[in-house]
């Protein structure tokens, strides 16, 4: 098997799986219980929180566990709006956000908020001018992703804080860093963001855990109510096995060394791909090297994905590219219909090798020969 779909999810590391197994079978207590099993669980929860905080570059008091990146994004957005709604009606976001952000924006727009979507260029970047003019003094929230999940575009979110200050805006700054976590430095204080979302299953942790960084002193309002877990911000009994697995996976993050390896792999793949006739790379050159989006005109995305799958290779079609459902991101960066309908996304992890790239290229040539006549 060749797994080139690491932006969708990643295999769980052995250490994470072992730690989870222990939590499932032996150390199964509820961290809210006051008996010895509960206390043991509470300690494990605290340790996991520290692991996530260290990997992100913040204090553990600033980490709130959630059950997914989606729940963290929803909590960040609605929690900010609930806190700030008397200060204004304007919200600024980019037009390439993940559905767990963009669907929240749609809802807020329906509720009467003035949502401004920053337009993007062919690389998927918004312009600093547009950002500056979008943020006004009645803007209450800015939510922009760090890395785009379909093409790997890196947004320069550092400039948001300055724009907010210049506009004398009360805006809270949220950043969806799910695709960036574990791949580049995302230290929140360095990026100048107040809220940041990360997820476990993109970094070789299990599904079922995510986290929201909340800058110390910022008291966004809870969106999910219940028994007061996570200091009342995200209620619900903590999914201990998933959270502990998440913490273990965080300990194994080593983005500095990995980055060069992946960059090499990407450059190798890109050079091989560009040798194939009439195949295009849709990701910008300076994109995060973990993601390459390509188009193979006349070979529908689904056919490539199915063919690769038959041959034991996992890649994904653009994003959720279905018949009649074109990728929103690729449409917005202005791809032609022919390239839209034939796009696939290859996403690497440090487990991948150049040999695997060779096999993939070989199969890519095969499917092209099979379908293009």
């Amino acid at each position: 098997m060749i797994y080139f779909d690491n932006s969708a999810t990643t295999p769980v590391s052995k250490n994470a799986a072992d730690a989870m197994h222990d939590m499932l079978i032996k150390n199964f207590g509820n961290p809210s219980s006051t008996h010895f099993l509960g206390i043991k669980a509470a300690k494990a929860l605290d340790e996991a929180r520290q692991n996530v905080a260290s990997a992100i570059g913040c204090d553990k008091e600033e980490i709130y566990f959630s059950s997914s990146g989606t729940v963290a994004n929803n909590t960040a957005i609605f929690g900010s709006v609930l806190l700030n709604r008397r200060k204004g009606k304007r919200i600024v976001t980019s037009s390439l956000e993940h559905p767990s952000v963009s669907e929240c924006m749609k809802r807020l727009s329906d509720e009467g908020f003035d949502v401004v979507y920053l337009p993007v260029d062919k690389n998927g970047n918004y312009s600093l001018e547009d950002l500056k003019s979008a943020i006004t003094k009645d803007t209450i929230l800015v939510s922009i992703m760090l890395i785009n999940n379909e093409i790997g575009t890196i947004n320069d979110v550092k400039n948001i804080k300055k724009a907010v200050k210049t506009a004398n805006s009360p805006a809270i700054i949220h950043c969806d860093a799910v695709q960036a976590f574990g791949k580049i430095n995302i230290k929140p204080s360095m990026l100048g963001v107040d809220l940041m979302t990360v997820s476990s299953h993109k970094i070789h942790g299990p599904k079922g855990a995510g986290a929201l960084y909340v800058r110390r002193g910022l008291n966004i309002k809870p969106y999910i109510l219940g028994g007061g877990q996570e200091k009342g911000l995200i209620a619900g009994t903590e999914a201990m096995p998933a959270i502990v697995g998440f913490g273990e996976a965080c300990k194994e993050i080593n983005y500095k060394e990995q980055y060069d390896y992946i960059l090499n792999l990407r450059d190798y793949a890109a050079s091989k791909i560009s040798q194939i006739d009439n195949v295009f790379i849709n990701s910008p050159e300076d994109a995060l090297p973990y993601i390459i989006n390509i188009s193979i005109p006349k070979v529908p995305s689904e056919v490539t994905v199915n063919f690769m799958s038959e041959n034991g290779i996992c890649v994904s079609a653009g994003s959720a590219c279905k018949k009649g459902h074109r990728s929103d991101v690729l449409t917005k960066i202005g791809l032609s219909p022919e390239r839209l309908d034939s796009s696939i996304r290859i996403s690497f992890s440090a487990n991948n090798t150049t040999d695997e790239v060779d096999i993939f290229i070989d199969k890519l040539n095969q499917v092209i020969r099979k379908v293009r006549t």
């Binding site: 199915n306 799958s309 459902h325 499917v367 099979k370």
Partner: protein, 389 residues
């Protein structure tokens, strides 16, 4: 006092001396449908089939839901079986129908006394029970011509039954009574409806699906499984054969003119399907074609498709509008699955300008460019079987 189901069979009563066979077939079908819900006793008596649960914790609503989908049942009712004692019958009627009677305004009581030893006559039973129910429900008045609810009391040999209005059954004929046929299923809206309609006429179904990996995905096959499992709620178990169609589709692409792709494909599908039908002892094929709906369903196109068929092709939707088909697909709960967007083999290599007035001679000439026999044999012999419940 115990809740039971009473079943009336419609057309079955017309089948003269075969009636017993048909009834037994229907009971067998019902037994199979209810097999995982608990233990039941089945009794045939006086043109009614009684189903009585033997366990105490049976989900009776689920039983009724499943019964409502068994073909051959024209009407059925939930009833209370009780002792043949008028005091108990009164109590049973109030307990079983009281809530329902609160919500309507008119009713009547009908009594049928099969056991003439019962001390009250039918009119007496009606009058007495009617009076009792009137005294319990101030909202009610009697209307013998057009009542909202008819409360029926039947005094049988061993016990009495009290029931409210009858419910419409699924109608049709018991599955298996008409023999076996094979439905060609794509994953669209039409073919599951066609399958449902022919099952209703008593056909036991085998299904044939054409998959063209990598042009079609495994998800399209899973979609067909979910569609068939909805149909199976009516038709009972369906044996599905999935044919790998890729080589044939590629051969069509490489050897035939584009505007004929779909027509050649349809003819190949019929050739393969009837061979599979023969193996599976099916006497006919079923398709979801509707006249003129798409280019391959014009009359000339149907002529060229039928030209290769050696067994009948049943097309229950041939005279129906899309709207009517969709209505049935919603009723049998296949619509929402059908509209999930996955490529099926019918949409792979679709010609831009398909022929709508082809002739048999044209098709025969086009197909003579290639020897298809081996590919057809392989497709028939490599079809994968899966039982869908």
């Amino acid at each position: 006092m115990k809740e039971v189901i009473l079943i009336k069979n419609g057309e079955l009563a017309l089948k003269g001396l075969n009636r017993n066979t048909f009834e037994d077939m229907m009971i067998k079908n019902i037994r199979f449908r209810l097999r995982d819900l608990g233990k039941f006793e089945y009794q045939k008596a006086q043109s009614t089939i009684k189903i009585e649960p033997l366990d105490d914790d049976i989900d009776f609503d689920e039983v009724v839901e499943r019964i409502s989908k068994v073909f051959g049942i024209s009407a059925y009712s939930r009833a209370i079986a009780c002792e043949k004692d008028f005091e108990i019958i009164k109590e049973a009627a109030e307990k079983f129908l009281g809530e329902e009677l609160e919500e309507v305004s008119t009713f009547k009581v009908e009594a049928k006394r099969a056991d003439k030893r019962f001390p009250m006559t039918s009119p007496e039973i009606s009058r007495e029970l009617g009076g009792y129910l009137l005294s319990k429900h101030r909202n009610l008045s009697v209307d013998v011509h057009n009542p909202d609810i008819t409360v029926t009391v039947e005094i049988r040999d061993t016990q009495a039954f009290v029931r409210g209005n009858q419910l419409m059954g699924a109608g049709g004929m018991p599955i298996g009574s008409a023999g076996d046929a094979a439905i060609m299923i794509s994953g669209g809206i039409d073919s599951p409806v066609a399958a449902y309609m022919m099952a209703k006429r008593g056909l036991r179904l085998t299904a044939i699906h054409f998959a063209s990996p990598p042009y079609t995905s495994e998800k399209a096959e899973i979609k067909v499984h979910s569609l068939l499992s909805k149909v199976a709620k009516y038709s009972g178990r369906i044996g599905l054969l999935t044919v790998c169609f890729t080589d044939i589709q590629e051969a069509i692409r490489d050897n035939c003119p584009e505007e004929y792709f779909t027509l050649v494909m349809r003819r190949m599908m019929v050739r393969i399907s009837q061979k599979i039908a023969k193996k599976e002892k099916c006497l006919a094929l079923i398709t979801g074609e509707s006249l003129g709906q798409v280019a391959s369903q014009t009359l000339p196109a149907i002529v060229v498709t039928d030209a290769v068929a050696k067994i009948p092709i049943l097309r229950p939707l041939i005279g129906m509008d899309k709207r009517e088909i969709i209505e049935i697909s919603r009723m049998i709960d296949t619509f929402d699955i059908s509209i999930e967007p996955f490529e099926d083999c019918c949409t792979v290599f679709t010609p831009k300008h398909p022929r709508t007035r082809p002739t048999i001679e044209q098709l025969e000439e086009i197909e003579s460019a290639y020897n298809w026999d081996e590919l057809i044999e392989t497709a028939v012999n490599t079809a994968k079987f899966k039982a869908i419940n």
